[in-house]
Amino acid sequence: MSAEISAPAAPLTMAKAINAALSDAMAEDDKVVVFGEDVGALGGVFRVTDGLTAKFGEERCFDTPLAEASIMGTAIGMAVYGFKPVVEMQFDAFAYPAFEQIFSHLAKMRNRTRGAVPVPVVVRIPYGGGIGGVEHHSDSSESYFAHTPGLHVVTPATVEDAYSMLREAIDSPDPVIFFEPKRLYWSKANVALPARTGPIGTAAVRRPGTQATLVCYGQTVPICMAAAEQAAKEGIELEVLDLRSLVPLDDAAIERSVAKTGRAIVVHESVGFGGFGAELAARIAERCFYQLEAPVTRVAGLDVPFPPPKYEHWYLPDADRVLDAVDRALSAG
């Protein structure tokens, strides 16, 4: 059955690619179980788990009571037993009740048991804004998780990666926080499934360039591509580096690119202050100190609570802000 989903006639949306990845993983390994709030009959509020219960039964894809800490803890217990749970946190901000389970158990179990108890849980978190969501529906919480040793933190930006990286995440022996860029759920591409791209931990150059590197991931990749496009019209060649994986981080790819361009702009949607972009900017500034011709600048979410729908266009990084930063970088030094 999964085959039918796996060879799409029409172009595929990212949401459907994720659905296909879940379906194919469940078909291949009956230890893979999917659960969370509304993932069953409804197929999830974004329809990402659509049809899985019908296809695999209530025992493989089921609705849980409304309790995120318990969803996470149940996943940990099931993983200890030998299952490979893939749980859904319905929205970014609704993963917060599960933080203690994630920080104190999911991230540490392997280490505290000297490797005796790996917990290969995949935590799917739709994240970010741009969909006109009311408060608590548009947070970007990757920085909290990336700062927590023991977790892998990844986010796809393309339809192909969405499928491939989720398969990799499910295959991973480590817990993986899988951030799904909400705004890109309905982005489309013609991809033949099952597709496999690079392994977790490797970044991808989405557009080669020579004058500056745009370092981005998830929601901001299309924005950086658009910026690079515009810049090209003015004869400025920007390199767009899609990190794909925040933890592990592909330092080599970042250094390779910045060594070439001598300039870096870090772009993400999460709050800038103390955000993951700070780690990126700090690393680049330290490791590429002698190659940098301009300060590494950051284009990120503003240091305010995510604003209401009518305001979010002012909050979200866009191509114009990226290009302003590029101008500053190019005119510097």
Binding site: P65, Y96, P97, V134, L302, V304, W314
Partner: protein, 383 residues
């Protein structure tokens, strides 16, 4: 093995096992679904049965329905970002608001916009969150009404804090906190109920059991036959009441509020009702429930039920209905007019009230956005 087996085995004396008292299985009512008084049901205060009092309640029900219907139209016209309807649950909204004085605190969820306007908050302000123009459009302190809460059950501890504060301040105000059935599965619900009982805080926990948490039916939230059973474990009174019976709700809430005000501590109330609409306009209820079920509940509509009773006792007739129609229509017309014009926004708003004083970092960011805004980039970004 079911609870019943257990209580049976218990009577044989196998072990002492706490089971829910069987007599609590039927929700408390005053009117049956046809609007006829039932035997041995709720015991309303006499004054609450006075035609004038009942008519006030009925007007409020009709008003809540009209407001909810208009809001539903507005969201379909794209005037609201999202709208979670309370259609079918109006009796809970009305009973809760009418049970409180102006000094009491109300803690609503996204589902309870009707309660906001019933408290007197202007519709534009009440719907600010769902319109997407700001997170909260009214002054929670002026209205003694907290912002509508979206992170489920997190408002529970706030109610405990408000109640405990009033108790410590020697003020007799009460906090009434709304929950949905699904949110009773959250840890915060438990922590709030348990703490409120320990503090004997003046709080009323009102669970609107509308049978679903988005698509998830009640039996996937609890194994117990009543959400009010949780009260036992908190050592507080728990009541299961028909949430579509305004008279029964008024009796139960009145008693709970009086008890809290008198220093008797919190009460947990489960109001058994039904969400007639989808979870929100964005939801597709056909994926998880049968229209037959919806039909069943349409026949238990809280408004029809009270109307039948009022008509039977001669307190309601076509003229009064016409008056009410007129009032509601006028209110909705004003709403339509108010929502027709888009307010203007300025990006500065985002930076205000993050802290009492903006940090130097925030001032710098405000400058950046102002510059874009001036240069039109701000709007540009909107496309």
């Amino acid at each position: 093995m079911t609870l019943l087996d257990l209580s049976a085995r218990d009577r044989e004396g196998a072990t002492a096992i706490a089971v829910r008292p069987a007599w609590d299985s039927e929700p408390l009512r005053y009117l049956d679904e046809h609007g006829a008084p039932v035997e041995g049901g709720a015991r309303p205060r006499p004054e609450s049965l006075a035609p004038a009092a009942l008519l006030r309640g009925y007007r409020a029900l009709r008003f809540a329905r009209a407001f909810d219907t208009e809001a539903t139209n507005l969201v379909m016209q794209g005037r609201l970002a999202v709208y979670p309807s309370c259609r079918g649950q109006e009796a809970c909204e009305v009973a809760a608001v009418h049970a409180l004085t102006e000094q009491d605190w109300l803690l609503p969820t996204y589902r309870d916009s009707a309660a906001l306007v019933l408290r007197g908050i202007p519709a534009v302000d009440a719907l600010t969150l769902l319109r997407g123009t700001w997170h909260c459009g009214y002054d929670p302190k002026q209205w003694r009404t907290m912002p509508q809460c979206t992170p489920l059950a997190t408002q529970g501890p706030h109610a405990v804090g408000l109640g405990l504060a009033a108790k410590l301040a020697g003020d007799d105000s009460v906090a009434l906190c709304f929950f949905g059935d699904g949110s009773t599965s959250e840890g915060d619900f438990h922590e709030a109920c348990n703490s409120a009982a320990v503090y004997q805080a003046p709080v009323v926990f009102l669970v609107q059991n509308n049978q679903y948490a988005i698509s998830v039916p009640l039996h996937k939230q609890t194994r117990a036959t009543s959400l009010a059973d949780k009260a036992v474990g908190y050592g507080m009174p728990g009541v299961r009441v028909d949430g579509n019976d305004l008279i029964a709700l008024t009796a139960v809430l009145g008693e709970a509020v009086d008890r809290a005000r008198a220093g008797g501590g919190p009460t947990l109330i489960e109001a058994v009702t039904y969400r007639l609409q989808a979870h929100t306009n964005a939801d597709d209820a056909a994926r998880y429930r049968q229209s037959a079920e919806v039909e069943y509940w349409r026949h238990r509509d809280p408004i029809d039920r009270l109307a039948r009773y009022l008509t039977a006792i001669g307190a309601l007739d076509a003229t009064v209905e016409a008056e009410i129609d007129e009032e509601c229509e006028q209110y909705c017309e004003r709403m339509r007019a108010q929502f027709a014009e888009e307010p203007t926004y300025h990006p500065d708003e985002m930076f205000e009230h993050v802290y009492a004083e903006p940090t130097t970092q925030l001032l710098a960011q405000r400058e950046m956005v102002r510059a874009e805004y001036g240069s039109g980039e701000g709007e540009g970004a909107a496309q």
